[in-house]
Amino acid sequence: MNHYSKTVNSGVRLERISVNKRVLVVGGGMAGLETALKLTRLGYEVTLLETAESPGGSILSLSSLYGLSGESDLLVQSRIEAIKQNPAVRVLTGARLVGVTGTVGDFRVEIEQAGQTIENRCGAIVVATGLEFGEELPGTGSPEKTISHKELERRLVDLQQSETNRSRMPSNICLIVEDEGVDSAMFSASALKNALAIKRLSKSSVFVCCDNVNVAGSGLEELYREARSEGVVIFRLEDMRPQVRETRTGLAVTVKDSSAAAPGGWQGLIEIECDLLVLPERATVPADGVSLQHLLNVSCDSDGWFQENNVWAKPVESNRRGIFFAGGCRGNFDVEDILAEAKGAALEVHNLLRHGKRLVPVGRVAVDASKCAVCLTCLRSCPHDAIEILVDDKGHNKAARIIDIACEACGICVAQCPANAIQMLADQFRDQDVAVSV
């Protein structure tokens, strides 16, 4: 048999590389504000980007959805105040991230604000672009009898303001709380809160159909009891999505409540007659969040949320070293979770940039420039964006180069290179290993 040996030389060394201690936080919502504050406490300078004219984010418009007491408003407002007072945070409103180059420790970013492009450098980026709720509802064939939770809240405000509106409230109202397996305290809590409000303001009967009434949150258990005692009827949905059909007088919603079912007998199918159906709006990644994913070259899950559910990456980590996610952009609804993530992201940044220096193993993976055909395969294949094309003074491409600070030494580029130009110098098995193992 014919052996072709792989040229292997060992020369891995550790190098101390300076990193920029400024951090860019994209998004001025709850998560972004909290991350920025935590970072300043750890001694970092922060640039905070917000596309809107003022920070605060979608939580302000959604506060009633969250709000049992309007406390989320306060949470945001207090943070906005704190940020304003803090000299270490530079807030850019009406600003968008339009360009990102470089790698961890030295990102070069371009920010567009009021038609001007600002260039900035930072060592890490935290993405906290949030989520938005689409107004689009699943069709039931009866649009005037189907509204969103948001619309219901608008009506409840009207209801509070005038007596006459009260008589116009439909007599049977059905609220559905389920969003394809998204199980959130926010949803069930807001539904219960609203159901209770209807009960108190009108004579209507209220039914709540819920995947799981989530009571893991302060005051939620009490809310649940209160709603029950006021006469709100709650069905627990299981293995069947509610079926809606039109009847002569209104809508009929069929749900399956297995806790009501008789073993071996009746399956728990219940038909609710109602004349107003309230459906949950779908939470989605905002359009600028999607473009950001391309800009940053970070992976997302099939629904478009940042950071796939990957057991190896900590929740706030991305596939690119130095880029982190926090809050709604990961599909998170819960205020507590969002705050915890913001803290986590700040700590991860700290872990990466502390002392302004980073010890990096250099030379684990090396490119033989004389062999490199500059075919770009490695550049396209690298999951960590740790490859760049070396360019000479005249701008001509010379060869691929490994960016050691971003490299995770996974060996994917080595496996992909059609010119055999990339070698893994450390921890790599050899043909002899294979022979021995056989």
Binding site: M1, N2, Y4, K371, A373, C375, T377, R380, S381, C417, P418, A419, N420
Partner: protein
């Protein structure tokens, strides 16, 4: 770049049956980039053939040169070629022939099927883009070549087989070049150019005019 693809192993096997010492030579240019015949693919070819002929006591060695289409790059191979019974070239047809001209006494076999001049649409997918017709009309067609990219090489607009932007010959894989041209020129506001009837093309500049050559006397030595 020139896009090629590995030949079926069965065919290569037949070519090499009667030889014992075989040199597999990759090429560092186009075929490396299109993942057909670079050093990596040459090694793979040798490894695969080694399995195929595992009981035939054949001996494979592998080398790769910068560009097989230039004789100078082949000179350093002379010793190795002479030490082997035959060469399996992993270059495009040009490289194989340059090799054959350089080493007239050694059988040179092609390891690839050379397909077309094209570009990658995505990693691992290449598409024909230029037909090398010798008389470029891209300035008239919105930068999209109907000769290479229309299944019938039509010059005056789409045939009746254009549906939803796809070509009826293979709707799943072929875009209608004329739809692309139309869209592009509509966008640019230059649709009027398409009203001009393009006369029958002079194919004498293309492969149909006999073996072509390009001469630049000023750079000749």
């Amino acid at each position: 770049m020139i896009v090629a693809e590995r030949k079926p192993i069965a065919e290569i096997r037949q070519m090499l049956e009667s030889h014992r010492k075989i040199l597999v030579v990759g090429c560092g240019a186009c075929v490396t980039v299109c993942m057909a015949g670079g050093e990596r693919e040459a090694e793979l070819m040798a490894a695969t053939l080694d399995l195929v002929f595992r009981n035939d006591s054949k001996c494979f060695s592998v080398d790769c040169v910068e560009r097989q289409c230039e004789p100078e790059f082949l000179d350093p191979l002379t010793g190795k070629v002479n030490a082997n019974d035959c060469v399996l070239s992993m270059a495009c047809g040009v490289g194989v022939q340059t090799m054959a001209a350089q080493f007239p006494h050694v059988p040179i076999y092609p390891g690839l099927n050379t397909h077309f001049m094209g570009r990658p649409l995505e990693q691992g997918l290449w598409s024909e883009t230029c037909a090398g017709c010798g008389n470029c009309i891209l300035y008239k067609t919105g930068g999209i070549c109907p000769i290479a990219r229309c299944s019938k090489s039509l010059l005056n607009g789409p045939c009746g087989g254009s549906v939803n932007g796809r070509c009826e010959v293979d709707p799943d894989n072929i875009e209608c070049a004329w739809q692309l041209i139309y869209d592009r020129m509509k966008e640019a506001g230059t649709l009027d150019l398409l009203d001009e009837i393009m006369p029958p093309k002079d194919w004498s500049d293309s492969a149909h005019g006999g073996v072509r050559r390009v001469v630049r006397e000023d750079v000749m030595l």
